[in-house]
């Protein structure tokens, strides 16, 4: 690897995220300002007259021209001041930091579970290509992303929490209050969310491993007498890493969507639920901040994925 070229590539990619985030900011801001409902009226309450509503609009800065509002908001956001929620009487930054841990916990555990289950499954399916395991994996995976997340959730809750009583029905326990409880409450939600990913990743793993298994160099390795597991793991998987990593990157978008629904089903006080509540309440500052945050996460993860390519596949040149 040539370091200067690599470095400039990395720098270029990092800088490229800035205009993207700017565009996200503009899009989100516009989208909210175009809504027909008026947060000032909602905040003013049931019995307010037009004067009081106008007053509140002034106080919130909603009467300024859109460009001014945008610039002010952008400036504050870059300094970390996400403003105060219209409805929750709390700083948005505080609301978000409260909710960060549950969502991160859920997301990370889901990814870990998904990878831990899917990759071995995919490899096994490829190894036993054509057998019952292969068919089962393919079948299950198509099913996995055909059923809506909340249906999976309800069914799992019914079986494991209610009938078998093995796990709690809902709720979230902070890590600080004990790992055991934290884990116990996150198992069902993570499995619910992981189903879609296991389906996707298992398939991609299987396909990639199968493709690679018939490559010349694999046959050479076999001919050289290296035992099957080593052949599979070292060569096939390593070369299948690129598409798998791509899926993970592109799956983050799916993950965020799934998180919103899963948090609603399992009553996890995370960012997903915060967003739903904020959208339904027309709480602009919160909606803007959360969407920005999610988008940033998505952009950064994709950045990491892109950068990972350069390590994983030297054939990819820029």
């Amino acid at each position: 690897m040539i370091w200067p070229a690599m470095f400039s590539y990395v720098l270029r990619r990092v800088l490229a995220t800035i205009p993207v985030m700017l565009i996200v900011a503009v899009l989100v801001f516009l989208m909210l300002r175009l809504t027909p409902s008026d947060p000032a009226a909602i905040i003013a309450g049931d019995n307010a007259n037009t004067e009081q509503v106008a007053d509140i609009r002034r106080r919130l800065g909603l009467d300024q021209p859109i460009l001014t509002q945008f610039v002010i908001w952008l400036g504050k956001t870059l300094q970390g001041d996400f403003g105060e929620s219209f409805f929750f009487k709390k700083q948005v930054a505080e609301l978000i930091s409260d909710r960060l841990e549950p969502t991160l916990s859920l997301a990370c555990l889901t990814i870990v579970l998904a990878i831990a289950i899917a990759i071995p499954l995919g490899v096994l399916a490829a190894y036993r290509h054509g057998g019952w395991l292969d068919r089962a994996v393919m079948g299950f995976s198509v099913l996995g992303f055909s059923v809506p997340v909340f249906v999976i959730g309800y069914v799992l809750i019914y079986i494991f929490a209610i009938e078998l009583n093995w796990l709690p029905v809902q709720g979230y326990q902070r890590l600080a209050q004990g790992v055991g409880g934290w884990l116990q409450r996150l198992i069902l939600p993570s499995i619910t969310l992981a189903v879609v990913f296991v389906a996707l990743i298992a398939r991609i793993t299987r396909t990639s491993v199968l493709e690679v298994m018939n490559e010349d160099y694999i046959r050479t390795a076999r001919a050289k007498g290296q035992t099957e597991p080593k052949v599979l793991i070292r060569h096939a998987l390593a070369n299948a890493a690129v598409p798998i990593v791509t899926v993970i990157g592109f799956g983050v978008a799916l993950l965020i969507g799934g998180v919103v629904v899963t948090e609603s089903v399992y009553t996890i006080p995370g960012l997903g639920r915060l967003t739903v509540d904020a959208v339904l309440a027309r709480d602009y500052p919160t909606i803007q901040a959360v969407i920005l945050l999610f988008s940033l996460a998505y952009v950064l993860i994709n950045l990491a994925v892109d950068l990972a390519y350069t390590f994983l596949d030297p054939r990819i040149r820029y």
């Binding site: 409902s37 009226a41 909602i42 007053d55 009487k89 709690p168 409880g181 009553t267 027309r282």
Partner: protein
């Protein structure tokens, strides 16, 4: 060596996996799921019931209604009325403290009354009779009236939205149209602001220095004795999950479970149903008088013939155990209940409705009916209304939206096809609509009325008469006339009375029967 290491690891793993958490408290915590999440903390600024419930936790009132609805002194120790009924003197009882330790003074109370009266319609009406409200000393204040009215006790002991909660003077001096930012009260619980996570949970702890009255608790009156250390309101918006959690013992109490899920809850031997709100609630249909064709009284009259109560109750509550057909604006079981004025109406007489529409010259303008989708008990009302109205000859444009949007839209006077509205449905707690003054929807002061803006001089005169009357028998007669007028001009329509108890685990004991869920007197066995 390896053996020891193995066992140590096993031990550590077992310790972690068994969920070593913070040392277990002997604290008694009541975990409740209320009908809505608490987002606003100012019970004067809004009439929302969840905020009123919050108010009852941390604030106290001068007077309070007991189980029978009789107004009894609560914070007031001595109450004197002059012979001419014009001078009312209130003296606070001993030992009342704010949560920050300061004593409650008459100044605090006067300021609180003024703020409440600025927003609440009953308070506003009361104030029209008041000449002056002055502080005599630390514990005493005097209300001087221009003419006698029964509204003094009725108002100061008002059980439901807006409740005249007492707040410290500095808080009560906040502009009534701005939400307060400090939450200090003198009630039996303290609001733990640091632990409040909107959308997640709200936490209250027992106020150790609260001095309850000596009488036994009854309704909102009597001694408010707290038997638990901590109350947590958890926000579980998925009703099914809330019931699941109750059955699994993860929570103790659900304020308003959906009627359809009651069999599931009651079927479990660890759970019981308890109807704390014996007077129930009333579904209401509100037309917008300023939107054509509802400016025409005949068209509004057609509604009263198109509707019937049973269809609405069946579609929402379902089980007849939990509803009652009550052809009266004042709920069944309350003092002014009467069927006068509603005889033969609310019977789905589609023919008569169609006739009225023809006489009125209804031209087929689609009625914009707002349909709220996210509040479970209200969600099925609009579709039923639509189907009945269509059978009566109306054209209906039902628009679905969430409750917040509906609330914003109902305050608009724009034409219905430009962001306005023709009608919507809602529900009132019975105790809020027991008389012509409490019933906000009966206010027909045109622009000053509630959204819907009915405009009827006759109605306003009758309501004024009611406010001036202190004799209960004469009050009843006037209330009857008010109902007859309401049914004639159609300020709104009563669409059935319904009941909903709370479900709780069997070890939750002592909940009081009152129009709002209160958490004093409850103990965890």
């Amino acid at each position: 060596m390896g053996h020891l290491r193995q066992s140590l690891i096993a031990l550590a793993a077992a310790a972690i996996l068994s969920g070593l958490s913070a040392p277990a408290n002997a604290q008694k915590t009541l975990r409740a799921v209320m009908h809505s999440d608490l987002k606003i903390l100012d019970p004067i600024w809004t009439t929302a019931y969840i905020v009123r419930n919050h108010g009852y936790m941390i604030y106290d009132t001068l007077f309070a209604a007991d189980e029978k609805g009789e107004v009894k002194p609560q914070m007031v120790g001595q109450y004197e009325v002059s012979g001419d009924q014009l001078t009312h003197t209130f003296t606070l009882r001993e030992g009342l403290l704010w949560h920050d330790g300061a004593p409650v003074t008459a100044e605090d109370c006067v300021a609180s009354i003024k703020r409440w009266a600025a927003k609440d319609s009953t308070g506003q009406k009361l104030m029209t009779f008041v000449d002056s409200l002055t502080v005599k000393n630390d514990k005493t204040f005097v209300m001087q009236l221009k003419s006698p009215t029964g509204l003094v006790l009725l108002g100061l002991g008002k059980p439901s939205s807006n409740v005249p909660f007492m707040m410290p003077k500095r808080v009560a001096e906040t502009d009534p149209n701005t939400q307060i930012s400090e939450f200090v009260g003198s009630g039996p619980f303290v609001f733990k602001r640091e632990e409040w996570k909107p959308g997640d949970k709200t936490v209250y702890v027992k106020f150790d220095k609260y001095k309850p009255r000596s009488e036994p608790a009854s309704g909102f009156a009597g001694g408010k004795v707290v038997n638990v250390d901590r109350v947590e309101w958890r926000a579980i918006s998925d009703h099914q999950q809330a019931i699941n959690a109750l059955l699994a013992g993860e929570i103790d109490f659900i304020e308003a479970p959906p009627h359809d899920l009651l069999p599931l809850a009651i079927g479990d031997s660890n759970v019981k149903l308890y109807d704390w709100n014996v007077l129930g609630n009333q579904f209401t249909f509100r037309p917008n008088w300023t939107a054509k064709p509802f400016d025409n009284p005949k068209v509004r009259q057609a509604l009263i013939y198109a509707f019937n109560q049973k269809d609405f109750l069946e579609a929402t509550v379902g089980d007849p155990k939990y509803y009652k057909l009550c052809n009266s604006y004042y709920p069944c079981g309350t003092a002014f209940f009467t069927e006068k004025g509603l005889e033969g109406k609310l019977n789905s007489d589609f023919k008569k409705a169609q006739e009225l529409l023809k006489e009125a010259g209804y031209d087929g303008t689609p009625i914009v009916l707002m349909h709220s989708t996210d509040l479970q008990i209200l969600a099925n009302l609009a579709p039923v209304a639509k189907s009945l109205m269509e059978k009566a000859g109306f054209k209906v444009d039902m628009q679905s939206m969430d409750w917040q949007t509906l609330v914003a839209r109902r305050s608009k006077k724009d034409p219905p096809n430009a962001g306005g509205w023709h009608a919507f449905l809602t529900s009132w707690v019975s105790v809020d609509i027991t008389n012509p003054i409490f019933t906000g929807f009966m206010n027909a002061a045109c622009d000053k009325a509630m959204f819907g803006w009915p405009c009827d001089e006759g109605m306003e005169k009758l309501r004024d008469e009611f406010a001036r009357e202190t004799d209960p028998a004469k009050q009843k007669a006037i209330a009857e006339q008010v109902q007859m007028r309401a049914a004639e001009v159609v300020t709104h329509l009563p669409l059935g009375q319904w009941y909903l108890g709370a479900v709780m685990r069997k070890n939750v004991d002592g909940m009081l029967k009152a129009p709002a869920p209160v958490f004093w007197n409850i103990s965890l066995k």
